[in-house]
């Protein structure tokens, strides 16, 4: 089975066609770089995205601390992750890149701050 998809790794947006056999990608055409091949396999087998959101700050110089997952998480977990992020509060100053949660939702990814926050 051939599955067509647009690569989202960079703004070029290569149109990929992934040849899928038994739920596994066996061949990818249309990718202008190696990232596209990895993307096509992930997209066909377990589509995932980097999640970016904000966490409420408590007593810091910004109201919200922007956060991201360091690696993509499965698409099906995005809303569960948002729910969890909605419950969190950050009261401790931090710098861009600091880890907030180490093994976020047990998914093996870090939730990290993307902006400095001070008292």
């Amino acid at each position: 089975m051939i599955k067509k998809m647009v690569c989202i790794e960079c703004p070029k947006g290569c149109l990929l066609s992934a040849d899928i056999e038994n739920c596994k990608v066996v061949k990818v055409a249309g990718a202008k770089c190696p990232k596209g091949i990895i993307y096509a396999a992930a997209e066909a087998e377990n589509p995932s995205r980097i999640l970016t959101a904000t966490v409420l700050a408590d007593g810091l110089d910004i109201k919200l601390v922007p956060v991201r997952t360091d690696k993509p998480i499965p698409k099906k977990d995005l809303f569960r992750a948002m729910e969890e992020i909605g419950k969190m509060r950050i009261a401790k100053p931090l710098r861009a890149g600091d880890t907030i949660v180490d093994n976020f939702l047990g998914l093996g990814v870090k939730l990290m701050a993307t902006r400095e926050a001070n008292r």
Binding site: M5, V6, C7, I8, E9, C10, P11, G13, R49, I50, L51, T52, A53, T54, L56, I62, K63, L64, P66, R68, K75, L78, F79, M82, A96, G97, T114, R115, E116
Partner: protein, 325 residues
Amino acid sequence: MFKRDLVVVGGGPAGLAAAISAHENGVKDILLLERDQYLGGLLNQCIHTGFGLDYFKEILTGPEYADRFIQKIQAIPDIEIDLRSFVVRLEKDKTLTYLKPGGLHTVRPKALIMATGCREKTREMVHIPGTRPAGIFSAGLAQKLINIEGLLPGKEVVIIGSGDIGLIMARRFTLEGAKVKAIVEIQGSTRGLMRNMVQCVEDFDIPVYFSHKVLKVHGKDRVEKVSVAKVDRAMNEITGTAFDIPCDTVLVSVGLIPENELIEMAGVAIDKKTNSPVSREVNKTSVSGIFVCGNSFKVYDYVDSVTADSELAGKLAAEYIRNRR
């Protein structure tokens, strides 16, 4: 009044890159004016990824991209940074008047770099008829409310225009629990990147109406619905195709225009159509010693290009100051 070698107006990606580059090219007396209370400009509200692929060969969010330059500029003692400083007047001899908590100040630099960015086109500029109730926002304003202020502007949203900011806000509203009822685009295809159609729209099954336009916004106090119809090639309504979409919020995402009123005040020639300075060379203007960089020079697609051209502006300003002596 005091004097400086170089003043940079704007502490977003353009101003930061220009000031750092001017310093690297030998300018040691620099004042950077920023009207907000933070450096980083618009990048602070662009919390999504997609920045830095060209410049840093990494995928960064807006705040991370800004942070790299903020850390760098803060480590340079020769660059004085004045936050909450709002320039209100610019004269032909480059004298700037700015408001800052505590008073009104004037400064005359040898060279001036304007990095004032751009602003969003409004509903009025694209002629969307109807009432003027609460609930109509430009996409970037909604982005600021959600990502900086922590306020959700509405629950049922229709987005007019399919530029990248609109697409990104469609995803952001959805993740925050609002329902994006439609994206209405008058052209036959998206104005944004395909990757954003995939990760912001298709991922969340948001309906997109290409070759459609909003005929009217309804609602007295708050937006109640919009009327939408299909358009022909001349972008005129095709009769009999109109339908209503109930919603409480309308986002207008129809493009950006450079913000250049200050240099216009100083007599710099402005192209009335694009609101960019009239220029034959990147970053240069009709007045020597006044440079413009970043989105106030022209609206760039990628912040990476803003950085590259602003670094050039810093270099040009340094050369100008050197040759002036």
